[in-house]
């Protein structure tokens, strides 16, 4: 509230005592007048009043304060005035030459103000601005002859007012009203934003926010676009005490579908619906969904400037249970991809035989996962002095079309038509012993058990085993040895730590005869060097006798900066090297682990703790030490500039179907110019083909009461018949007047966020 009496409904609690402090106090007994002077301070209920002089006539109950009067009201309004007259319950009052600052940092200046019957406050010749007494004239303010604040209706009415920008009037408006800024959820139009996109034309999206009840509200947005017509959006949000759900719709009847010629957007009617929710069953169990359906796969990207809730490729129903150490996650998943089909008969990797080509029917090749369940339990009590933990997984999915490609003279399958299920249960035991001289021994053992249920519906895929049920186990015992050395110097210390692991296991059985749904990615780097099983999923189990050797170095300074590095290599000592034998997918052919002596891997992380930081992983070829893969990221803040740079080099991986190397530089910069302005930009540069893939440049302004941003971006990575997608976007916000910033937080992990 900003008016004089704070919430008028509960007027001052006159049963409270009043404390008055002053340098001098005159108490006129006969006519009961108290005159206090000398920086008088009065504390009454939650009010404080300061003034040079206060006369309190107890007979007629009038307060009059004069001389730089300052009054703070219970809800935080801070009123400054030359003189002030108040009834002794502060309900009526007349102030002149006053300024009011409210907790919402809105600022009223008026020649005089009158409060009548507890509810109305009328300002004469007042100005309303959201800037505290800024030295220069505030960017914008509203001057009007009378401003009336109606307490009950929670609205502010401006009569005969002029909107001033930089101190000069740009618009005269006879009469308008806004919501009282203290009211968070108030229905009304939000400020528009502007967009220009080459295939959509120029558009203005005008949102209307409607609070139907304290627990549910609606945002309807209409965006007329010069080339494609009207895009309509509706977002419904409902909240319960145990959770919430949202529904977002987007629809357009495209006037010029031809603009999207060559992509799935070349249709007249396009529509998208997304709903997400989160409900707490107990304080440990939660359930909910995040589902999206669009009439065509390109809708979300083509109309990217609009926000359709948490629309994304993955749709999921989830049940999650967690304690501090254990978890049970169950997800049912479906996918609607945005990638356009792009088959070409001349593609060398097209599979031999009756299979769809590469990049054809991409949508049908995606599985329905019904469900995937992860369950992990750490046993509290030590067993044989060590820690035992169980982690299990159930994955069951169905796919309509086989996802095949041809490489090295063989057909490989990223996914096979049919229904495939697997139940896995792993038990791991480990214990660490430290001997007197500081050597660290960690004996461990684990047993992985997998039961596959295969219903291969594509009899052209003969590589898969014909058995309907297959069991595969992988027991292992091993030892990890570390011997860290410490050396201290003034201001910090360094640690050098040799690490060695030996893992003894039987060979992995039936490689290539079982589907591989969740272990398709194999990136051998410093983070996988000391994993006992370097596969990324349950569908593959590393086998044979393997040793991992590494040297770790850490240098840390007391004031917080640190350097930490690791260098190592892995050796297959005996048995079958699971990474050498091509599985049904053969993604491990170029992983660096396929030779008995693996490639070298290294990582380096350096943080100056003063705003600069660099970190990266790299893998070097075991023979010629050539770089096989390198990913380096750096971020820095220096004065007004803050920048994030990253470089990546990936050598070609023919076995995985990547036939040429990739090398890329991505940079983004944010430069704060003087005071409120900032310039920002980002760039993604493909170094192999020497072209810019994506770039953005923008200008932003923000101060206490106004924010605006203009951005222009180009995206050439999309394969939808449009070489470059150009988007120009402008939005602005006047604080407390139709703020467009509706923060939308959804907690589901979003793979494409």
């Amino acid at each position: 509230q900003f008016d004089l009496t704070s919430a008028a409904e509960q007027s001052v609690d006159t049963s409270q005592p009043m404390l008055l402090e002053a340098r001098e106090l005159q108490y006129d007994f006969d006519n009961d007048v108290i005159i206090a002077s000398g920086n008088v301070e009065i504390y009454f209920d939650d009010y404080t009043l300061r003034a040079d002089r206060v006369t309190y006539n107890r007979a007629d109950g009038r307060f009059s304060a004069s001389g730089n009067v300052e009054m703070t009201e219970p809800d935080g309004n801070f009123i400054q005035a030359d003189n002030l007259e108040l009834s002794d319950d502060f309900a009526q009052g007349f102030v002149n030459a006053l300024e009011i600052d409210t907790p919402q940092f809105t600022h009223f200046v008026a020649e005089s103000a009158e409060r009548a019957n507890d509810n109305l406050t009328i300002f004469q010749n007042g100005t309303y601005s959201v800037y505290k007494k800024a030295p220069k004239p505030p960017l914008w303010r509203i001057k009007s002859t009378t401003i009336t604040h109606n307490q009950q209706k929670q609205r502010i009415y401006f009569e005969d007012s002029s909107i001033e920008l930089f101190g000069n009037s740009i618009a005269r408006i006879p009469y308008f009203s806004i919501a009282d800024p203290t009211v968070g959820r108030k229905s009304g139009f939000l400020l528009p934003s502007f967009v220009t996109q080459n295939r959509l034309g120029v558009g203005v999206s005008v949102p209307f926010y409607w609070t139907i009840s304290p627990t549910y509200d609606l945002t309807a947005t209409l965006t007329p676009l010069t080339r494609q017509g009207f895009l309509g959006q509706l977002e419904w949000r409902q909240r319960f005490d145990r959770g919430h759900y949202n529904v977002s719709l987007g629809a357009i009847n495209q006037a010029d579908p031809g603009a999207f010629e060559g992509s799935s957007g070349d249709v007249r009617g396009r529509f998208i619906i997304n709903s997400n929710s989160n409900f707490d069953i107990t304080n440990r169990w939660r359930t909910g969904w995040d589902v999206t359906y669009a009439t065509d796969r390109a809708f979300r990207e083509d109309y990217g400037f609009a926000d359709f809730g948490s629309a994304q490729e993955v749709s999921r129903l989830f049940l999650r249970g967690e304690t501090q150490r254990n978890l049970f996650h169950a997800d049912a998943l479906a996918f609607q991809i945005a990638q356009e089909d792009n088959p070409s008969p001349t593609q060398p990797m097209n599979p031999i035989g009756p299979f769809t080509m590469v990049n054809e029917d991409l949508q049908q090749k995606q599985p329905f996962v019904h469900p995937v369940i992860d369950n992990s339990i750490y046993f509290e009590r030590p067993i044989f002095g060590g820690q035992l933990n169980y982690d299990g997984n159930l994955t069951s999915l169905t796919r309509q079309t086989t996802d095949a490609f041809f490489v090295n003279g063989e057909n490989r399958f990223r996914g096979v038509e049919g229904t495939f299920s697997r139940v896995s249960a792993n038990l791991t035991w480990q214990r660490t012993l430290i001997d007197p001289i500081g050597q660290v021994f960690t004996p461990f053992a684990y047993a992985k058990t997998n039961l596959f249920f295969l219903a291969n519906a594509d009899d052209n895929v003969t590589e898969l085993t014909d058995d309907a049920v297959v069991f595969r186990g992988m027991p292992a015992i091993g030892l990890e040895y570390r011997f860290p050395f410490l050396s201290t110097f003034t201001g910090g210390n360094q640690v050098i730590e040799p690490i060695a692991q030996l893992i003894v296991r039987p060979n992995e059985a039936e490689i290539g005869e079982l589907p591989n749904e969740d272990a398709q990615s194999i990136v051998f780097d410093a983070s996988t060097l000391f994993d006992w099983d370097k596969f990324s999923g349950f569908d593959r189990n590393e086998g044979g006798v393997r040793t991992n050797l590494g040297l770790q170095y850490k240098l840390q300074f007391d004031k917080g900066s640190f350097v930490s590095g690791l260098f190592g290599r892995s050796f297959q000592l005996a048995g079958l090297n699971s990474y050498a034998v091509p599985g049904i997918l053969d993604a491990t052919g170029d992983s660096g682990l396929e030779t008995d002596g693996s490639d070298y891997v290294t990582s380096l992380y350096f943080d100056t703790n003063t705003g600069f930081r660099i970190g990266g992983n790299a893998r070097f070829n075991e023979h010629d030490f050539g770089v096989e893969r390198a990913e380096v990221g750096a971020s820095g803040r220096y004065g007004p500039a803050s920048t994030v740079l990253s470089y990546a080099y990936l050598a070609e991986r023919p076995d995985a179907g990547i036939d040429e190397q990739r090398s890329e530089f991505v940079g983004s910069l944010n430069l704060n110019l003087q005071e409120n302005w900032r310039v920002f930009g980002s760039l993604r540069y493909d170094m192999i083909n020497e072209n810019i893939v994506q770039d953005t440049v923008g200008l932003g302004y923000i101060d206490e009461g106004f924010n605006a941003s203009i951005s222009y971006s180009e995206d050439r990575s999309r394969n939808n018949g449009e070489p470059v997608q150009r988007v120009f976007f402008f939005r602005f916000g006047l604080r407390t007047i139709g703020d467009t910033t509706l923060s939308q937080s959804n907690s589901s992990s979003d793979p494409n966020d």
Binding site: Q387, R414, S487, E517, T528, R716, N719, S749
Partner: protein, 167 residues
């Protein structure tokens, strides 16, 4: 600068001449863990749980924890970046997951802050046309990055205790 084993037992003479072997592992086993959470996303909840379990094993070495004397608070954030996006490729070649954490080690009794620091690690996974495989690979990459950060924090706390023996 001479090197000595990080976990070597350093015998110190207490003032009354008693020999007191006070090893770093005992200190480590009396650390209690706290992961303040602010409406975290599923990914952050998983990362916190991986770090917690890794550090509990690193501190207690599989045995019983000692009565807590220290508190270690860790706050983490996760970034995901597309890697190797080419023109007309429509999809990236890989994704890179970076986990950034800041940690504070404090003495429970005196509530004094002993050590603060930041740690970060990244792990990447290759893009597959099978979106389900990407989901699982992303979860594995998050776990790997979290394990590297946990191991880094563990070593740095061990070196703190080795260089600041309890009075």
């Amino acid at each position: 600068c001479q090197f000595r084993p990080l976990y070597g037992t350093s015998t110190t003479l207490t003032d009354d001449g008693m020999e007191r072997t006070q090893t770093v592992p005992d200190q480590m086993a009396s650390i209690s863990l706290d992961f303040p959470s602010y409406g975290d996303s599923f990914a952050i909840t998983n990362i916190n749980q991986v770090m917690r379990n890794q550090l509990i094993f690193a501190f207690t070495r599989g045995g019983e924890p000692l009565p807590p004397k220290y508190r270690l608070e860790i706050l983490s954030d996760r970034r995901r970046a597309e890697v190797g996006v080419e023109r007309l490729a429509d999809v990236p070649t890989a994704y890179n997951i970076t986990v950034n954490s800041s940690f504070v080690l404090s003495n429970i009794e005196t509530d004094a802050t002993l050590l603060t620091g930041r740690s970060f690690a990244s792990a990447s996974f290759d893009f597959s046309s099978q979106r389900f495989a990407n989901l699982r690979a992303e979860r594995d990459a998050e776990t790997r990055a979290a394990k590297v950060v946990a191991a880094d924090i563990n070593t740095r706390i061990a070196s703190y205790f080795a260089t600041h023996p309890e009075e």
